[in-house]
Symmetry: D2
Subunit: 372 residues, 4 copies
Amino acid sequence: MSGSIFGKLFSISTWGESHGAGVGVCVDGCPAGLALSEEDIQKQLDRRRPGQSRFTTQRKESDTVRILSGVFEGKTTGTPVSMMVVNEDQHSKDYSALENVFRPGHADFTFDSKYGIRDHRGGGRSSGRETIARVAAGAIAMKLLGELGIHIDAYATQIAGVSVSKDRLDPEEAKSNPLCMPDKEAALKCEAVLEELKEKGDSAGGIIECRVDGLKPGIGEPVFDKLDAVLAGAVMSIGAVKGFEIGEGFAAAGLTGSQNNDGFFACKTGEGSLTIAGKADHSGGTLGGMSDGGPLIFRAAVKPTPSISIPQETVDKDGRTKELVIHGRHDPVIVPRAVVVVESMTAIALADLILQDMGSRLDYVKNYYIGK
Amino acid sequence: MSGSIFGKLFSISTWGESHGAGVGVCVDGCPAGLALSEEDIQKQLDRRRPGQSRFTTQRKESDTVRILSGVFEGKTTGTPVSMMVVNEDQHSKDYSALENVFRPGHADFTFDSKYGIRDHRGGGRSSGRETIARVAAGAIAMKLLGELGIHIDAYATQIAGVSVSKDRLDPEEAKSNPLCMPDKEAALKCEAVLEELKEKGDSAGGIIECRVDGLKPGIGEPVFDKLDAVLAGAVMSIGAVKGFEIGEGFAAAGLTGSQNNDGFFACKTGEGSLTIAGKADHSGGTLGGMSDGGPLIFRAAVKPTPSISIPQETVDKDGRTKELVIHGRHDPVIVPRAVVVVESMTAIALADLILQDMGSRLDYVKNYYIGK
Amino acid sequence: MSGSIFGKLFSISTWGESHGAGVGVCVDGCPAGLALSEEDIQKQLDRRRPGQSRFTTQRKESDTVRILSGVFEGKTTGTPVSMMVVNEDQHSKDYSALENVFRPGHADFTFDSKYGIRDHRGGGRSSGRETIARVAAGAIAMKLLGELGIHIDAYATQIAGVSVSKDRLDPEEAKSNPLCMPDKEAALKCEAVLEELKEKGDSAGGIIECRVDGLKPGIGEPVFDKLDAVLAGAVMSIGAVKGFEIGEGFAAAGLTGSQNNDGFFACKTGEGSLTIAGKADHSGGTLGGMSDGGPLIFRAAVKPTPSISIPQETVDKDGRTKELVIHGRHDPVIVPRAVVVVESMTAIALADLILQDMGSRLDYVKNYYIGK
Amino acid sequence: MSGSIFGKLFSISTWGESHGAGVGVCVDGCPAGLALSEEDIQKQLDRRRPGQSRFTTQRKESDTVRILSGVFEGKTTGTPVSMMVVNEDQHSKDYSALENVFRPGHADFTFDSKYGIRDHRGGGRSSGRETIARVAAGAIAMKLLGELGIHIDAYATQIAGVSVSKDRLDPEEAKSNPLCMPDKEAALKCEAVLEELKEKGDSAGGIIECRVDGLKPGIGEPVFDKLDAVLAGAVMSIGAVKGFEIGEGFAAAGLTGSQNNDGFFACKTGEGSLTIAGKADHSGGTLGGMSDGGPLIFRAAVKPTPSISIPQETVDKDGRTKELVIHGRHDPVIVPRAVVVVESMTAIALADLILQDMGSRLDYVKNYYIGK
């Protein structure tokens, strides 16, 4: 298969190329009875839509989603929810010069190597537009998680070498600046750096942090489908992501056990029941591949956009050296638009793991089958 | 499912607890006709066996593997290859004190939360012994890859805060020192640091780098089963791994596009055919989720061993505060023993993706079905 | 998941309800380089389109398919092929009377039981229109199999109690009568019986036989994914199919081993190479779950259409007894339209198993990876 | 893969050959907290053990099962349950004459064709001993279903051409005669016929019927994973099964809609709640691929044992004609021993579908995650 299906129970199947009829996704396995409207989806898609700031591509598309199945009288019916976004503002001719040339940092060469044929227009299947399908499916997963009291929040902690300050980190701020940085000061500084890069025709990368609250302990399957592993696979499958870490992540490698271990403590919840939690969160909210009841925190490294207008040396299909200058409408940085994509993949992965956890105990199964 | 199955075509199913009858794996989907003996497996298992240096647990087990099926007259038959290692040196009583206490940094609390029942002896299913099954299956995958000219090499580039020097990095050296570091000088320095930590009853983490040579371009499936994503999932599923990065990884987040892009160039191979390759390897050997024909390079961050003999504060099942001192036989650092586990998961993931790639082109399918 | 995904490598994901926006399918895993046009798909869809004879529903829809992705310059690119058929002739109001009543023989009660919500219009997800997605995906699979020299032919051997004569069985004849029966005489007799049933407002069932030629030996996976098992699952998943048998099928239960065993014999093929084949075909072309190189022959039993205009006694949601008379446009027999659906599911299952077989031998893998 | 994994959530992975070290199965996904002992498994294995009557092979093996993992203090822990039965009474030399000859009706030729290599001793992977793994896994599934009030009962309704009488059908009787026939008179008649066949060195087939009680409505997933389709795939994957039908099955093809439709009626259960059920059971307990709350009834056709001692004509690997007389210890009829195998596959398939159904409704998910 071409790897366009994700999830065992909350299962999504995506399709579409940048310059084809559109992009879409079919979600199989969303529980019946979830209130769902096109607005729920559109709201999330609008967060990744281009043209919202001067740091994103000027391609102009409304990216209007249409729900084609699986919703009846405002609720999911349990059958597949198919969604589609029509491609509108295609400048296919912009790409004719690229038909036989391999753009550095792009998937042109590898697609050609794998399939022997390639829709070269706008990156084809490897275009950033592919993430529309992830965000649409993610919007459904997020509604589902919302019903369970789970909340996901991602933001950029570093762009173009400018990092946010841990002391000033405020996820709400990320919603009000175009760079989705949770630190106004850092965002302003970053804008200046990006302005400079843009002028040179260059591009920048960054780091996205994601935090999940409301996850009950025990989500994730031991061994191969550990929470960490499934999230890593989900997030690393987003184009341009080159690294993933959870909790202390790479920093943990340099700590000692006595520094890195999170001791447990007991606390009483509102209803007086006992809750056990970790004292610190070096682990990022997982132990042994399962959620520990605390907030889940992980980060993804995003490489700089490979489409730059600075001349680059490369070759064509026949091995002839070519100097390449990429025109067209590109993002000098994709990090802000990728924030919602990270949230979406997180939501999809969690929805799937939560459904999987339902059968983990005999008493859960009996309660479902027989009732109490 | 409890997440103990990995792979779509080269599919492994693992089982076993630390203090049960043994640990094992069933490999379904290994192509028929591969020469395979118990020695092939044992050789790899011996690399992870405890008791080989003073920095690993003194638990003494021969970890002798037995092939139970799927091999006939020295060759795989295409049917499942089941393998088992009997548990020998079990000191189950060492763990009776831990029955109701949650060890910090371990999976005790999360296993209890998920299943409501837990084999507390030696970590049960979350014991490091679980990796025996990975290494046994990985040995088969590695033999298969060897037939295709693919070679995998992992080594520790950082342990206990001591990093190897890029200038001195020599993978061969990693085979001759007990820390599997590809830099003798760093290894010696590191041993001293570890000696000190061991005396204090503390532990250390580290970073493992893995390099794959011989991978043809186009391996990995676009979108969700990208080479990077599948490897990240495979490697992050190893207990104690908290981060994964490929190529420049997290460093790429701070580079510009012009710095990070790898231009292509053409070269002639031995037989005079044209090969196209990247000029540098910032990408780590993947573009768009598919191998680019160059060496694949990625890193995994390993947290410090959570079992330390320094007193720790924690709670028991009833929420009572407990001071915990972990006795028993533990590794002050598991990084050297994890090196072969990283290689194994890499081999399994690559074997699976290579088999998946076989159906990617009509001419491959026709060649297989009809011949030329 | 709601069970709308089929296949491991040639993987299809279907969606859509009778009275929603449309029905569709996303095919993930079709090899790149296959010539494919909308005409290829339309040709097959036209075989299941209603309104072609007086024995099928008079609902009038062109069922025009649109390929939305995965095809570039007339060839598949290896990326998902998404296809959609818009619903046109919807008389949703015909169904308002059925909102709270459970039609006998239909899925109304079970959908309600499972999901607690149901799109009652025209059967919703369980409508016969769901098979459009199977036929569209099957058309691609059939094109792929055609490239390998594999041919699939299905026809009705029994309808409304009228059986074809084995002596007169001619698959070509099935293409020229409206009942898809491979025996003109039987077809004429059958038409008379159906005419009578139609007048009474009653309906009929039948048996479809399917024959596959050109399958090389060894297709199908031993144990759970036997050729017989995968085909049985694929064909029994078609609505209204209540039985599946291969070769002698149920008749084999009454034979002795000496009667039922097919002795082997050797024959020379055109190129002088040795071929071994079975003397008879009691087995239906499989042994041990793998194809034996001979023609594959199996049958599916189709129940009579449950929508009849004869008054039926049933209950509504609240358990009140109701007399039900179904109006609307229904097929007195669906067997002729189901013939192409059986062929389609067969093609999809075979395409998937053939791709799976590619990794069954080391020499196949080496030939693909290294060439000879 | 070689097709030895079955199930999405209750997932089993089997291995082993007739004349290797043993046969086994790893069950991944059994809910934690289920009471389970080796006796639970052994009891079912003893039902398929050879040597229990003069109509089954005289191979003498105790077939003693050992649970290797996943059970702690008498309960399942949620981790994989690995089980193994050692092969004991192997007469491998009996098979040396068969190394290069293809036995009619067996998988020798197709295994050779697929893999190019074959463990010819005793049928290797395609031996009837493979079903030990199914029965061991099925015993766990049956215990799980028992906790939910679900009961499975299979018996032979036809052997060697002798059918049971519907009027005398008594499932309890099947437990007390060696042929597992639910009709004493038919069993006695059948024994006489088998005695005759045995003397001639010939063999017989038969039909197994299976009935499931206690299934709540809504089990099974619409479209491809219909209850009927999953059961058909599960049962047809048992060696020697050549046909599957549910409810009226093939007979439904000859009925009219008015005859075959099951009208619904309402009844009050013990607790006074409303239950809706079908008036008859032509459908066999499924509608639209989901259980309808009534008993599930289906049948499997089993071909006659292919190992007969009557001389047969066949060929060897080089295409030379050979007269074959099969010696060794074979069952003149396998139907009685297959009864428990049919029950086992049914239990595994149902356990898997029930776990899948748990996520079908938002209120189920909320109830599990938040409680009421």
